[in-house]
Amino acid sequence: MTEHTQHDHDRSECRRLLSSLSDYVDGELDDALCRAIEAHMAECENCRIVVNTLTRTIELYHTAPAPDLPQDVRVRLYKTLKLEDFIASEPPDATEG
């Protein structure tokens, strides 16, 4: 689907910038390096895709719902900690998992 024909010449630039992409998607790079990355991305489809999919990967993980603490695990935890008296206030939907 993706062609990688005409920009194969500057793969060294892709590699040079690679270690900064993680900081770039976090917005933690200085302006000069940001501009260098953006200038490179304007000409390099592969790096554009890497940045887009890197961002999307982080987003997918960050927004995936965390499973609730299973109720049986929760009950045993409170018992182990001798806090059984406080277990009454259980969340209504903690049965999943």
């Binding site: 489809e45 890497v50 935890l77």
Partner: protein, 215 residues
């Protein structure tokens, strides 16, 4: 035990909870458990890879925290402190389980050049039902489990739990640059695997073929 300074301010609410914990208030103990048990369990699950081991880590983390709460100086957030205890507990148990293969001092297992991208399938614009399918979720979990432990813990705290780089460094006793390097490797490795998965799934949804399992 001394914990390094966190840049994040501790709220009044949390200061009050810590004060009550240190005064031995049982209700405060229960409140701390209620507030953090879910997150600690999820961290433990991802570190240990199995439910029974994760439950051990969960229980041991709070038992240790209760024993050590008098010495908690409030210089990092309570959650960061608990993550740190949980991580140490998990590492100790992993080492017990596989003493020959697991070492705290083991270098990062990725080799130079491992992180160079090879997959250039732009899955960003796939429909939500593909990105968020049960199968995609299972692939995401498998991808995390396949990361070396040293990378996995950084990714879980920073990108899943949403700690800052500084907080992650505090929780793991690492430098900020070390956190950034590991995070970068983890992210690129996960991106690589998800790209390959979504490329396969896009092809199979066009042809109606089932997805070839990952090797």
């Amino acid at each position: 035990m001394v914990f390094s300074m966190s840049t994040t301010a501790i709220t009044n609410d949390e200061q009050d909870l810590i004060r009550r914990l240190q005064a031995g208030d049982q209700a405060a103990y229960a409140e701390m458990v209620e507030r953090y048990a879910g997150r600690i369990y999820n961290l433990a699950l991802r570190l240990m890879g199995d439910e029974a081991a994760a439950e051990d880590v969960l229980q041991e983390t709070f038992l240790s925290a209760f024993r050590a709460i008098d010495r908690f100086e409030g210089r990092s957030q309570l959650g960061t402190w608990l993550y740190r205890i949980a991580n140490n507990t998990a590492l100790m148990q992993l080492r017990k389980k596989e003493p020959a293969t697991f070492s705290l001092d083991s270098p990062l297992e990725t080799e130079e050049g491992d992180e160079i991208p090879r997959q250039f399938f732009d899955f960003c614009c796939l429909p939500e039902r593909d990105l968020l399918s049960d199968e995609a979720r299972a692939e995401m979990r498998a991808a995390i489990d396949a990361l070396p432990e040293s990378l996995r813990v950084v990714f879980v705290l920073r990108d899943i739990e949403g700690l800052s780089t500084r907080e992650t460094a505090d929780a793991l006793g690492l430098s900020v640059p070390a956190v950034k390097t590991r995070l970068m490797r983890a992210r690129l490795a996960l991106r690589e695997r998800l790209s390959a998965y979504f490329a396969r799934s896009a092809i199979s949804s066009e042809t109606g073929e089932p997805i070839t399992p990952t090797t």
